[in-house]
């Protein structure tokens, strides 16, 4: 399991494009596209060409700029500079609707369907000139035909509500076909699909390609990319690093392009001596989400959680904190067996969970920094009349402001006004203030700039040194490798491997995360 396999071979023999993609006019080109969000340069001088009948993969870390490019090509956001050329002529795409009319469609991780409309309607909803009346019979017939052509069978009369993600994606693809798109963008389409569903999805993709559609395929799963793509482009920090035909590159090389510089920048954490056993988890699980996860966490240890998006890492975190309690298995905290049914209980036991989603789940944006920091421990800040002692709050906030060097003119300003990095620090402060013995960090550096990232890493090291046991959930592999003492790898809801620091590297972890053959592992998951 742990020995790296260098000579890469795809388990599925890819169907070759009917026409070779070379030597023909590109359907879509971007010239020198640039976009910046206030401080950070999201995209810089991106020039890319998509040819008909090819699958063009886009690789890159989180925040490398992939999604920004997609938003620009689909007309959701406007670039600061640069131009888009569609089938030879320059176009300005002011809205997603316009892009769609121009033959550019996108399929996102969570498809945007109308839950109350039928499958058939969802396929045809964005058709403009389909007449005043809905010809249900005709619509159903055509919808069924399109789906049949894709090789999937869904009851086109049923509402989209309650369809599985895979089914929803098939609907989205059918929609794209019905619009006979020329460019189809797929953003992490496989993120939460079972391996079996992935193989089916790829069959659809290849079908589209053979019809001459040009597909921009964005994924974190390098193996998949090399299964499906004709060309591979790698982004890093808003720059286009490389574009190579698949034959001329390899997963290893792509990964190097993706993470190379960062490996240099990230200085590995010097791990201290492993403290005594803090938390031990045995056979933890929740139906249909994750099963039989077991691991130990020691004081002062950073335990990295690696794996693909949707592998169930976050769900383990939520279970340990009590938001989605586990239904099987046992948790032992410093010798005592414990049950955690609610976040409140988790907190009282000294467990803290720093969510991956700052804006939705983490912070109350309109409220002040100090209010956010003290929220979980509010009962500690009351005078004998039960009123909040704002002086105490401020004191705490100020302390963290110094300790984590949160950049703000005052701790009374609304969190919404802070940069991503500083918001992240506020989140950390909020949970450090609960004096946790176990700190679960979920994607702590997602979408924050390199500088802030380094700071957060330093903080983590500090906390570990203070003897806190830290679980670091991150899709940013180099990050995990740089600061974890051990790395636990999850795949499809299972803990598949735990690496000691010395054995953990890009290849071993990636291999474990993807499994030898997703097809085989897919079946037992499904």
């Amino acid at each position: 399991m742990t020995e790296p396999d260098t000579a890469y071979t795809s388990p599925i023999a890819p169907v070759r494009a009917a026409i070779p993609a070379v030597g023909r006019r590109p359907i879509l080109e971007t010239h020198g596209i640039a976009k910046h969000y206030d401080a950070t340069q999201a995209l810089d001088d991106i020039s890319l060409a998509l040819y008909p009948g090819e699958v063009h993969a886009l690789l890159g870390e989180n925040g490398a700029g992939k999604s920004t490019l997609i938003k620009i090509i689909t007309g959701v956001v406007q670039p600061d500079r640069g131009e888009i050329i569609l089938a030879g002529d320059r176009v300005a795409l002011r809205s997603a609707a316009e892009a769609q009319r121009a033959g550019i469609a996108a399929i996102y991780q969570e498809p945007l369907l109308f839950p109350d409309l039928t499958v058939a309607e969802n396929i045809f909803v964005s058709h403009q000139g389909r007449g005043v009346a809905v010809g249900w019979a005709r619509m159903y017939r055509e919808a069924e035909a399109i789906l049949a052509e894709l090789g999937v069978a869904i009851d086109v009369r049923s509402p989209a509500r309650g369809l599985t993600l895979a089914a929803q994606q098939s609907v989205e693809i059918a929609k794209a076909i019905s619009l006979n798109v020329r460019v189809l963008i797929m953003d992490e389409p496989t993120a939460s699909l079972s391996a079996h569903e992935v193989t089916q999805l790829f069959r659809l993709v290849q079908g589209l390609r053979d019809q001459g559609v040009s597909i921009l395929f964005v994924s974190h799963r390098i193996e998949e990319v090399f299964e499906i793509a004709d060309k591979v482009t790698v982004f890093r920090d808003g720059h286009l690093i490389s574009t190579r035909p698949r034959a001329e590159t390899s997963p290893q090389r792509a990964i190097a392009d993706m993470v190379g510089r960062e490996m240099g920048l990230l200085k590995p954490r010097i791990s201290g001596p492993r403290g005594d056993l803090l938390l031990s988890v045995r056979g933890l699980g929740r139906e249909d989400v994750f099963q039989d996860v077991s691991f130990d966490l020691h004081r002062g240890e950073v335990l990295g959680f690696s794996g693909l998006i949707g592998a169930g890492r976050t769900d383990v975190g939520l279970a340990l904190f009590g938001i989605e309690p586990a239904t099987t298995g046992s948790i032992t905290l410093s010798g005592k067996e414990i049950v955690i049914r609610s976040p409140r209980e988790g907190m009282d036991l000294g467990i803290a969970y720093v969510s991956e989603d700052r804006r939705q789940l983490g912070l109350s944006l309109p409220m002040s920094i100090s209010a956010n920091i003290t929220l979980p421990m509010l009962h500690r800040y009351l005078d004998r009349f039960g009123l909040i002692r704002q002086d105490m709050e401020r004191a705490t906030a100020e302390a963290f402001r110094k300790r984590l060097s949160i950049r703000t003119r005052s701790v009374d300003v609304a969190v919404a006004k802070l940069s991503g990095g500083n918001q992240q620090k506020v989140m950390l402060s909020k949970w450090l203030n609960t004096k946790p013995s176990v700190l679960i960090l979920d994607e702590p550096t997602r979408g924050i700039d390199v500088g802030a990232k380094a700071e957060v890493h330093a903080i983590i090291a500090e906390l570990a040194a203070e003897g806190i046991g830290i679980i670091l959930i991150s899709s940013d592999l180099p990050e995990v490798l740089a600061i974890s003492d051990r790395v636990l790898v999850m795949r499809e809801g299972r803990a598949v491997a735990i690496f000691e620091r010395k054995d953990a590297n890009q290849e071993t972890v990636m291999t474990a995360a993807m499994g030898r053959s997703s097809a085989s592992t897919g079946e037992d998951a499904a």
Partner: protein
């Protein structure tokens, strides 16, 4: 099971069960009240249902788009009073003209709501809470508190409630009820078979997606309010015909009954799902309760208590039972089959 699933949707199951509930209610009242099964009872229920139904249809359209129109009661009052006054002065206006007048006036008032919600970006509950008071206030002031009296109205109008086109199983069908039914059928067809109608569902069902594919959300919301106003106007005309003399208070509090009818009828208060027919069933349920409980000694006072409980149960069952059903139905899901040959769709 699967056979049923392909033909009947959970929403329809819900509507059927409501229908069942109505039948049960009628049987119950029949057993409690002697001489209940008379054409008279039917007419009474029918004509009281007529008003609520017509307004409820408009309300349904608005609610589908994730909005609400609380001003309908005032619109009904205004149109009833206005048309009544005009007919009082010019008794020989052609009936169709009179109806048209009511509808257009209603539509204009509705347009005010619509514009404020769609382009003024004021939450519909705030807008219509305000206009509920404003329209009523204007009516009282402009009318300087006169009453429209039956005598001032032309006979064709006063006699309208008694007019029966034909009778069914010995039950005379009041023409006003037929009007309501016609409205329901038209709008059921419109929301079911016009792409315009389907778009009301779309924007209520997933506004983000609707915006992404470039549906004209503002214009659709505006249209919904205009239609709601127009139908309230029509209902105003029916009210005029039914009660003959119209005080400036006519139609006050109607909005509650209407919203109740819509909710009981299974239209999701947060938009996206529900049907016009469902709303009508809700109106019939409420009308039956209202008119029947009047007839039991004292129990007239139980009407509201029962109605309130009914609404709560309707919402609760939507939240709990309907979800279960949908989950059950949802299972009928995707299968992979051998791809059909290209050209299967080339037609």
């Amino acid at each position: 099971m699967n056979w049923i699933q392909r033909r009947i949707r959970p929403e329809q199951v819900r509507e059927l069960s409501l229908l069942l509930l109505i039948i049960l209610a009628v049987l119950l009242f029949g057993s409690m009240i002697d001489g209940y099964y008379t054409s008279r009872t039917f007419n009474r229920i029918a004509s009281s249902v007529a008003v609520i139904t017509i307004v409820a249809v408009g309300q349904t359209l608005v609610v589908l788009t994730r909005n609400i129109d609380l001003s309908v009661g005032s619109i009904v009052g205004c149109t009833a009073y206005f048309v009544g006054t005009v007919l009082g002065h010019f008794p020989d206006i052609n009936p169709l003209m009179a109806i048209l007048m009511a509808v257009v006036l209603g539509a204009l008032i509705g347009a005010v709501n619509g514009a404020l919600v769609a382009w003024g970006r004021v939450p519909s509950i705030i807008v219509t809470l305000g206009t509920l008071a404003i329209f009523r206030g204007l009516l009282v002031d402009l009318s300087n508190a006169k009453t429209v009296t039956t005598d001032s109205l032309p006979h064709w109008l006063v006699d309208l409630p008694q007019l029966r086109l034909f009778s069914l199983f010995g039950l005379d069908i009041p023409v006003l009820f037929l009007l309501a039914v016609a409205i329901v059928l038209i709008f059921q067809a419109g929301t079911g078979y016009l792409s315009l109608g389907r778009r009301f569902y779309a924007i209520g069902s997933n506004p983000d997606a609707a915006a992404l594919i470039g549906l004209p959300i503002r214009r659709l919301v505006f249209l919904a309010f205009v239609l709601s106003g127009a139908l309230a106007g029509l209902a105003g005309f029916v009210t005029l015909a039914r009660f003959g003399n119209i005080t400036v208070e006519s139609g006050r509090g109607l909005e509650l009954q209407v919203v109740a009818a819509v909710v009981v009828g299974g239209v999701n208060i947060f938009g996206g799902s529900g049907t016009v027919v469902g709303a009508m069933l809700g109106a019939i349920m409420i009308g039956t309760l209202e008119q029947s409980l009047y007839r039991l000694q004292i129990s007239e006072f139980w009407r509201d208590a029962v109605l309130g409980w009914l609404i709560l149960m309707a919402v609760a069952s939507d939240a709990v039972i309907l979800q279960r059903l949908r989950a059950l139905w949802g299972r009928a899901d995707l299968k992979y089959v051998a791809p059909a040959a290209r050209g299967a769709t080339s037609q």
